[in-house]
Amino acid sequence: MNFIDLLKRIPEICKTPETLPLEGKKLILDFVTWLGSLVGIAVPPWVLTLVNILVVIVAIIAVFLIMFALMSVWERKILARAQNRYGPNRVGPWGLFQPVADGIKMLTKEDIVPRNADKVVHFIAPIVMLVPALILPVLLPYGRGMVAIDLSVGILFFFAVGAGSEVAIFLAGWSSRNKYSILGAMRAIAQMISYELPLVMSAVIVALVAGTLSPTGIVEAQGGYQFGFFPNWFVFTPWGFVACVLFYFSALAESNRSPFDLPEGESELVAGHLTEYSGFKYALFFMAEYVGMFAINGLLVTLFLGGYQAPLPFLTFIPSWCWFFIKLAFLAFSLVWVRATMPRFRIDQMMQFAWKFMLPMSFAALFSAAAWHYAGRGLLGWGISAVLVAIPYFALGYFCFTRHHSADNRRYLFSE
């Protein structure tokens, strides 16, 4: 083996985009072997394993950080357009280098720690926030055979590791010794715990139907096409659609995004648990929030949107890993769209929504999924499960959340 052979392999690899990442990884491993032969040693297998792991880690972190950088400017552009503004367009073409400018600004800012703060905890909070967020993307299947760790308990892993961010938010809020910080942290934790129930419930439904907790298995369960063109994604079943919407809104709440951004509602709480953070630590929080958001939306793609599967059979010429990121980009766009539309919830409305609407709806989706499964997963089951989710939806929506205006019901709290 020599270097020229390795170079010659590059165009061959590029010919089949479907397996491009996997073959690229193999190429890097061969390159390491070649380096070993250059100095005259046979590279031991554990070094190759280590290099393999490192390549995967670096690839995942790089992809997610690049996505974070692009998202931070894309979000501002879309938000601006929805408000009839231009958005950032000064730094580089179309403002694309805005994240670089932001990064330099963040890094050169003074790192302020409040005098009464618990300095150690104040320091470790951003790290505790970022580490779970960077661990989460590990289990997502990005393409056929492209999953870093194929865990048999992947979904459970996701929620178990995701629980770490709650601890981090508490650390940040408590260690700042600031009433806005602690109030924001309490709100954030209350919100995350409340919305974790529908989140986990809707994931559990998918796990039950797919018969596995492994993300790869769930994606494979959604493969194939009904009638030759209709994808078997779970989002196209009534229970799956309901669970997908529930999961989507719970994911919004979990990642503290608008309209669930009460924990850092600037008009009420300055910036919540981020109040006392500046400079690089704030950037870490920001990064963790976005990477966590991508991870949880990647899970949504995996659970409901068919993961790396193409939506139509003739579109399979686009490589599977592209489909994953296309779907993820669409979800990211929809997040900004929702942010541009919805006003912030009031805290009692938010809690009411979680416990009185989302949780019962997730149970309804569970029953509906059971009906769909036992009716043979055909059109009959489709109809039954549609009825089973529609009835609770309209009942809950009409009786709990539609305001029935009437002059007699109006109570004045303060004017009398």
Binding site: S152, V153, F159, G162, A163, V167, L171, W174, M186, E196
Partner: protein
């Protein structure tokens, strides 16, 4: 020196990976010690969280992946948060004159601490003695299995062999949920 080196070389290094669980075990014990010793309650709870995380990792290292993740999910996500909330909701008020019978005794605090430590130490010594020196300790332990607990097997076990306990646990958890909500609810002043 040379002999020592030779001995170290001769150790069964190929079995080293199966002793890697000592790392999370060490972290867990340190976390537990800090949780017990520290003065600041929040710090205690945070060290307890660290200890729980390390315990979960230890479970995974011992081959019980599912239990490890459940441990993380339940303890880190719920119990630790609950404890932290409880600490924040119960601020230490002014210490009024207590009706503690031991309060007249000047060294009551130190005495209680010493007594508790003695009891704990005695329990530890007896446990370690039982583990290492009892006749059963010399019983043949089957070798560590490549113990794998597939999720499917756990699920089938839960719904077949342990269905009744599962239902009982469900009822208990519901009762605990309602009971905790009722207990912690503010009493209305009539």
């Amino acid at each position: 020196m040379h002999e020592l080196f030779q001995k170290i070389i001769a150790l069964p290094w190929d079995q080293a990976p199966q002793w890697l669980f000592l790392i999370p075990a060490f972290v867990m014990l340190m976390g537990a010690a800090a949780a017990v010793m520290l003065r600041n309650l929040i710090h205690c709870a945070l060290c307890l969280t660290l200890s729980f995380i390390a315990l979960g990792v230890l479970f995974m290292a011992l081959g019980a992946e599912f239990v490890g993740f459940v441990q993380l999910l339940v303890y880190v996500g719920a119990v630790a948060m609950l404890i932290l909330f409880a600490i924040l909701l119960t601020p230490a008020g002014e210490v009024a004159a207590s009706n503690n019978p031991l309060r007249n005794f000047k060294f009551s605090r130190a005495f209680a601490a010493a007594g508790g430590a003695t009891v704990a130490l005695l329990v530890l010594v007896s446990l370690l003695g039982a583990i290492f020196f009892s006749p059963h300790a010399r019983a043949v332990v089957p070798p560590a299995q490549a113990a794998i607990a597939p999720v499917k097997a756990i699920g089938e076990n839960l719904l077949n062999h342990t269905l009744l306990p599962l239902q009982a646990t469900a009822i208990l958890l519901t009762a605990a949920l309602i009971g905790a909500a009722l207990l912690a609810k503010e009493e209305k002043k009539s």
